[in-house]
Amino acid sequence: MTEPVISVRDLRVEFVTRKGILRAIDGVSFDIMPGEVLGVVGESGAGKSVTGSAIIGLIEPPGRIAGGEIRLHGQRIDNLDPESLRRIRGRKIAMIFQDPLTSLNPLYRVGEQLVETILTHTDLGPAAARARAIDLLNEVGIPAPERRIDGYPHEFSGGMRQRVVIALALCAEPDFIVADEPTTALDVSVQAQIIALIRKLCRERGTAVMLVTHDMGVIAETADRVAVMYAGRVAEIGPVRDVVKHPLHPYAKGLMGAIPTLEAEAERLVQIPGSMPRLSNIPLGCAFNPRCERVFDRCRVERPDPNVPRFGLEGEAPLMPGHHVACHLYTRKTVETAS
């Protein structure tokens, strides 16, 4: 059995603010296997970016990892000292940000940024690093890389810049990439190319990817598994065909409900009545209960544990392995009370 590249267990991230301690991530768990793409969806503020930052070790004060474990190839990385963490960053774990226009340092040539990253993480000399930088640019589909390598970021278009960003993330052949909305800032026509590129690199290199996006079409095409996040928790996680086609959690149902099945290209998340609670007043029990159509008494007092085995409503068939739903509806003895 292969080991997960990244394994997150019961992660908790808190921000210390004047109004008190805000728990932005509360008990999130998931694994990502080599070569696997985990799509992460959820409304704005659900905690997708914070989860990604936590894994890559970039939660900065006033934020802190308050509990749980993050393991890379079985080794804990959430409690490393800053210098050891820095060595892992870029080398083992990389991150791609949303906006390629602001992700690159405007005063450094593209080649300088690539070469510096390569020199930091490998034993290559300057000349070999430059050759590798050109190879990388070529690999991410930048035409005439020998020439373009000496250009400044502003001389590249948005899509080309995101390719440069991806090349930068790939410098040390990381095992895991967090891609936080990598196409949101790009033209629709370019989005598909960038997603295809990430997918291809992931397949060819066996890199694991956590792909944060608001675009269900992208999820359906790219992800192997999906996690639906709500108020800092995972509402539902499972194989993409199950979660997208037959979501179980009422929140996930709301998210997926309005997606046209085939022409799903640029469909954005649908509004569900109400809005996500602020971190300062997440309700007791299930965080979704004020907005849930199926809410019942138990939801208001007991928080559904994402890890207990769940059963489908019809015939009470157990869910597929790896499919978890944090909802009391799918507990055997509550089926009658719920319906």
Partner: protein
């Protein structure tokens, strides 16, 4: 790039023309130059002749043209007080002012930059808080008060440094005199340079701190961290380089005001520079000196502005493109 340079030079010339107009109007309307030259008992015909010979009866536009023509040859006439060419008077005193101003500027830039970077990177340390507090004092205290306080402490109470004059100076070439080569000259420079530079130093420190904190929040710094680049490279390469762009502009422009504001410091320390000369000229309504000084300061500001714009373009590749087009 060439088009950009030419355009900027034309703009500079236009500004200088405006400054010249103001200087010229000062001549025309602040006191009558003839009255300054003649005694009370000079006969009326004598005055009229003088007026004619000075060209004061020509149309204003002709006089202005003549003024500009003379100014281009650095001829601003003869000082009423000293009966000497203004240009020579200024040239004699320029080294004192320039040495003071550049020392003050170097002090402000180096210390301000170091303190600013420190405050940005260690923003919560007690030393950073202390720097912040000191900078608040530096910004709010008037220059003459700082000068007097420094004199009181280091010259009167401790007796470490002189409070007056330039010390011993050495002549270099025809007209330059420098205090850099003698111990007494260097010692004399310390207090006035700190006094003159303190305000700019706190300004630069606060600017660098604010700018660097801003840069540290940008996506490209986050991305640099996410790539695991070394902290030193992120702080002193990626972040500092981006911080310096606006700082260059401001610091460069400040050099002009340092020279202009030297008047006060020169007065407090009895520093034999152009500022002191200007102040005496104002007291005695010595218009030629005032006009020349005004033109000189105007020229300095314009030149510095031009230089700053051009270096700015060299540092920032985005602007280099904008200039080319």
């Amino acid at each position: 790039m060439l088009a950009f340079v030419i355009r900027r030079i034309m703009q500079s010339a236009a500004v200088m023309l405006a400054v010249a107009l103001i200087a010229f109007l000062m001549f025309r309307f602040v006191g009558d130059p003839v009255n300054q030259m003649v005694g009370v008992d000079t006969p009326q015909e004598e005055v009229a002749r003088l007026r004619e010979s000075l060209g004061l009866n020509d149309p204003t536009i002709v006089q202005f043209g003549r003024f500009i023509g003379n100014a281009l040859r650095f001829d601003f006439g003869v000082s009423y007080q000293f009966r000497q060419p203004v240009t020579r008077l200024l040239a004699e005193r320029a080294p004192a002012t320039l040495e003071l101003a550049f020392t003050a500027a170097a002090f402000a830039l180096v210390v301000g930059l170091i303190m600013g970077v420190y405050c940005a990177l260690r923003r919560d340390s007690w030393l950073a808080q202390l720097f912040q507090a000191i900078s608040l004092i530096g910004v709010s205290l008037p220059t003459f008060l700082i000068g007097i306080l420094l004199i009181y402490l280091f010259a009167v109470v401790l007796g470490w440094l002189p409070s007056n004059g330039r010390g011993q100076v050495v002549k270099i070439g025809d007209w330059w005199t420098t205090g850099f080569l003698t111990t007494s000259g260097l010692r004399a420079l310390v207090l006035p340079a700190i006094t003159l530079g303190l305000f700019q130093m706190t300004l630069i420190m606060r600017l660098v701190r604010a700018e660097m904190l801003e840069v540290m929040r940008t996506d490209y710094i986050k991305f640099a961290k996410a790539r695991g680049l070394r902290t030193r490279s992120i702080h002193f390469g990626h972040a500092l380089k981006n911080t310096l762009i606006p700082v260059i502009t401001i610091a460069g422009l400040q050099l002009g005001s340092i020279i202009a504001f030297a008047i006060i410091t020169e007065t407090v320390f009895n520093w034999p520079g152009m500022g002191l000369l200007f102040l005496k000229a104002v007291q005695n309504v010595d218009i030629p000196i005032m006009a020349a000084y005004l033109m000189l300061i105007g020229l300095l500001f314009v030149l510095i502005n031009l230089l700053v714009d051009l270096t700015y373009g060299l540092v920032d590749p985005r602007l280099r493109i904008a200039m080319r087009s």
